[in-house]
C-alpha cells in the first residue's frame, strides 16, 4: 500500500507544497485549514510554554492524521532555533495520544542530508528530477510573492514586515496582517516570504549566505549569531531604514526564543534611527481587535509623520 503523505500547513503556499509532493510521485493529503479546533488541539497537547508555531503545526498534523495521512513530513532546521526538535517532540506527543503514523523529518540546511531525507520518502527519485521539480515549484512561489508585492506599489506609505518566519507566512495566525494593511492603501514588503526563504536556504546550503557579512552599521548592534532568522531580521530592519520605509512591523510568536532576544536590539535601532517599529506578539490568546487598534494607530501615526515631512 502506498503511503499517504501530509505535512503541516504553511500559509498560502500549502497547495503549492502539495503539488510539489504530487509531482515527486507521492500520494498527498492536503492538510485541512487552520481553524479554532486546530489551535485548540495544538494548545491542548503541546507543552504550555512552548512557542506558538509548535502548537499550530502540531494541531494541523493531528488533523491530517485524522483525515487519513500515515506519514508526516516536518522540516528540521538542524540548528537555528528549537525548530530542530519540533519533529522529534511532536512525534512523541502524537504517539502518546494514539496517532498511528510515521514522522519523516527533512533537513533543510545540509544539501546532502536534504536529498537523503527526500530519498527516504521517494526511494527511486533522481537528483535531476528533484532539482527540476524544485525549480518549477520555486517559480510558482516566486510568482505568487511578486503578485503580493504588486499591490499598492505607488503608495507613499511603505511598511516592512520582519519577524518569525511561520507567523509571517501563515495568514490565519497573523490575522491576515498584509491584507489588512493593503486595504488601508499601504505598500507592504514581507521579506520572509517563501521565495526569499527558499533562496536564502539554498545560499545557506551552499555556503554563499551573506548572513554573516553584516554591514558596518549592523555590527554596531550585534556581533553574534542569535538563531532563527534573528540576525537576518536585524539586517533587514536596517535595510528598511536605509531604503526609506516609513515603518516596520515585527511579528513574533509569544515565547519565541530568537525574536524575544532581539527585541531590545530592535528597540535600540528604532530609537537611534527614529524609525517607528510596531512589535506584535501572537499566540492563542491574541485578540483581533487588539491587533486592529494597534495597526490602525500605527498607520495613523505614519500618515501624520509623513504629512509633517
Amino acid at each position: 500500500m502506498r503511503a499517504k503523505l501530509s505535512f503541516p500547513r504553511y500559509g498560502k503556499y500549502t497547495d503549492l507544497l502539495a503539488e510539489l509532493c504530487t509531482n515527486l510521485g507521492v500520494d498527498v493529503i492536503t492538510p485541512p485549514p487552520i481553524t479554532k479546533h486546530t489551535v485548540e488541539l495544538g494548545t491542548k497537547y503541546a507543552p504550555g510554554d512552548i512557542c506558538y508555531p509548535f502548537k499550530i503545526t502540531l494541531g494541523t498534523m493531528i488533523e491530517a492524521v485524522e483525515q487519513g495521512a500515515d506519514t508526516i513530513i516536518m522540516a528540521n532546521s538542524d540548528g537555528w532555533c528549537i525548530l530542530r526538535c519540533y519533529a522529534a517532540v511532536q512525534e512523541e506527543i502524537m504517539r502518546s495520544i494514539g496517532c498511528k503514523f510515521s514522522m519523516r523529518a527533512i533537513n533543510i540546511r545540509k544539501p546532502i542530508k536534504f536529498f537523503r531525507d527526500i530519498r527516504r520518502i521517494v526511494p527511486r527519485l533522481s537528483p535531476f528530477a528533484l532539482i527540476r521539480e524544485m525549480r518549477r515549484f520555486f517559480r510558482k512561489v516566486k510568482k505568487m510573492d511578486e503578485a503580493e508585492k504588486d499591490i499598492n506599489k505607488g503608495s507613499d506609505i511603505k511598511i516592512g514586515i520582519i519577524g518569525e518566519v511561520f507567523v509571517c507566512n501563515e495568514n490565519t495566525v497573523n490575522m491576515d496582517i498584509v491584507k489588512k494593511l493593503q486595504r488601508m492603501g499601504i505598500f507592504v514588503d514581507r521579506w520572509l516570504c517563501l521565495s526569499n526563504n527558499v533562496e536564502m536556504l539554498f545560499k545557506d546550503m551552499f555556503g554563499v549566505s551573506n548572513a554573516n557579512k553584516y554591514s558596518k552599521i549592523a555590527r554596531k548592534y550585534f556581533s553574534v549569531r542569535i538563531g532563527g532568522h534573528a540576525n537576518e531580521n536585524l539586517v533587514k530592519l536596517i535595510r528598511y531604514i536605509k531604503e526609506g520605509y516609513d515603518g516596520v512591523i515585527m511579528l513574533k510568536p509569544f515565547a519565541c526564543g530568537p525574536e524575544t532576544v532581539i527585541e531590545p536590539i530592535v528597540e535600540r535601532i528604532s530609537r537611534d534611527h527614529n524609525m517607528p517599529v510596531l512589535s506584535l506578539s501572537i499566540d492563542e490568546s491574541a485578540l483581533e481587535t487588539h491587533f486592529q487598534t494597534r495597526i490602525e494607530s500605527f498607520v495613523d501615526m505614519l500618515k501624520m509623520r509623513k504629512a509633517a515631512g
Binding site: E288, S297, M304, A308
Partner: protein, 321 residues
C-alpha cells in the same frame, strides 16, 4: 454655531463630550459601564440630550473611539471612527500644543505616546497583560476597603519603602497579601503598589524611552494622586494631569469630527437611546478563517456585523429580516 459630539466607549466607562467650533467643552458625561456598555451608552446619550436641549446644541458631527467604537458607530452613527491613540493625541495637542509625552492609563489598557513638534513619533500600548491599569487598582482598593480617590492620601502617609512586584496582577496581589502578613502598614503597601505600577509602566510600556517635558497624564488613573506622585518621583519631572483627564479620548474624537466637518452628519439623533439593541453570534464557514461574527440588531433590524477578518461582512449592511 456648530457643535460636535465625541464618544469614547471604553472598557469600564463611557465618556461623551460636546465641543463647539472653538473646541471648548460645552457638556460632558462620564459613566461607569458596570458590565453593561450598551445601557451606559444609552444613559449617557440621555444626559447629553438633556444638556443639549437646555443649551440648544445642534450636533453637526460625531466621532467615536475606544474599544467599543464599532458597536457605537452602528448604534448611534458616526462620521469619524478612530483608534484611541489618534484620539488621545488630538486631545493632548489641543490641551497643550507643545506636549511631548502622553501617558494614558485607562481601565484595561495603558499607552504612551511621544511627540516631536506636535507630530506623534512613537507610541506603545500594553501587551497581553493588563497589570497596572485602572481595573486592577480599583479591585485592590476595594479589597483594602478604601476608595481609589483616597490612594493619594494613603500613599503620601507612607513612611517605609515596600517593594510590590507589579508586573502581573496575580503575583502583585499575592505579593501585597504577603507584605500585609509580614506586618507592613496599609499606607506603605499602597505606596509600594503605586510605585510598582509606575516602574512597570516605564519598563514595559514606555520601554525606558526618555519622557520629555511637558508630560501629560490622562485616563481614569490620572485621578489617582498616589500614581502621579510616584511618576514624578520616578521621572524627576513634573507630570500634569489636566482637569478633563477622564474625557480626553472623546474630546479627541470630537476634534477629529470637527476637522472633518462633514456636510451631513451620520448621527442618528438622540432618539436612538430609546432603541432596542440585540446581538446574534454565528461562525462564518465560507473560508478557512472561521470568524466569529456578531450581528447587530437595532429594533430587530440587522444593521451591521462585527468580527470578520475579510471585508465580507464589514462593508455590507444586510437586508432587514
Amino acid at each position: 454655531m456648530k457643535f460636535f459630539l465625541g464618544i469614547d466607549v471604553g472598557s469600564v466607562s463611557v465618556k461623551m463630550a460636546v465641543l463647539d467650533e472653538e473646541k471648548n467643552v460645552r457638556a460632558s458625561v462620564y459613566l461607569d459601564t458596570a458590565g453593561a456598555p450598551i445601557r451606559a451608552l444609552k444613559q449617557a446619550l440621555e444626559e447629553i440630550k438633556k444638556a443639549s436641549e437646555c443649551h440648544g446644541f445642534q450636533i453637526n458631527g460625531i466621532g467615536v473611539t475606544g474599544s467599543g467604537r464599532k458597536i457605537a458607530s452602528f448604534f448611534i452613527g458616526a462620521d469619524v471612527v478612530t483608534n484611541e491613540v489618534t484620539a488621545q493625541t488630538m486631545a493632548a495637542l489641543h490641551h497643550n500644543p507643545e506636549v511631548s509625552s502622553i501617558i494614558e492609563i485607562g481601565g484595561q489598557d495603558s499607552k504612551v505616546i511621544l511627540l516631536k513638534n506636535g507630530i506623534p513619533v512613537w507610541f506603545n500600548l500594553n501587551t497581553l497583560c493588563a497589570a497596572g491599569t485602572g481595573s486592577f487598582l480599583a479591585s485592590q482598593a476595594s479589597r483594602l476597603k478604601i476608595s481609589v480617590e483616597e490612594f493619594g492620601a494613603y500613599a503620601s502617609r507612607s513612611t517605609l519603602k515596600v517593594n510590590i512586584a507589579a508586573k502581573c496582577t496575580v503575583f502583585s496581589e499575592s505579593d501585597m497579601i504577603h507584605k500585609a502578613a509580614l506586618g507592613c502598614k496599609k499606607e506603605d503597601i499602597i505606596n509600594g503598589l503605586c510605585e510598582g505600577l509606575v516602574r512597570n509602566f516605564i519598563n514595559n510600556v514606555a520601554k525606558n524611552r526618555p519622557l520629555d517635558d511637558p508630560i501629560l497624564f490622562v485616563g481614569g488613573v490620572a485621578s489617582n494622586q498616589g500614581v502621579i506622585n510616584a511618576f514624578e518621583r520616578e521621572l524627576g519631572r513634573k507630570v500634569i494631569a489636566p482637569k478633563e483627564h477622564k474625557i480626553t479620548g472623546c474630546i479627541g474624537a470630537a476634534i477629529l469630527a470637527l476637522q472633518k466637518n462633514v456636510e451631513r452628519t451620520k448621527f442618528k439623533g438622540f432618539e436612538v437611546a430609546k432603541h432596542d439593541i440585540g446581538m446574534d453570534f454565528f461562525v462564518c464557514v465560507d473560508c478557512q478563517n472561521r470568524c466569529d461574527i456578531t450581528k447587530i440588531f437595532v429594533n430587530n433590524t440587522a444593521v451591521g456585523h462585527l468580527g470578520s477578518r475579510c471585508e465580507k461582512y464589514n462593508d455590507k449592511t444586510p437586508a432587514p429580516q
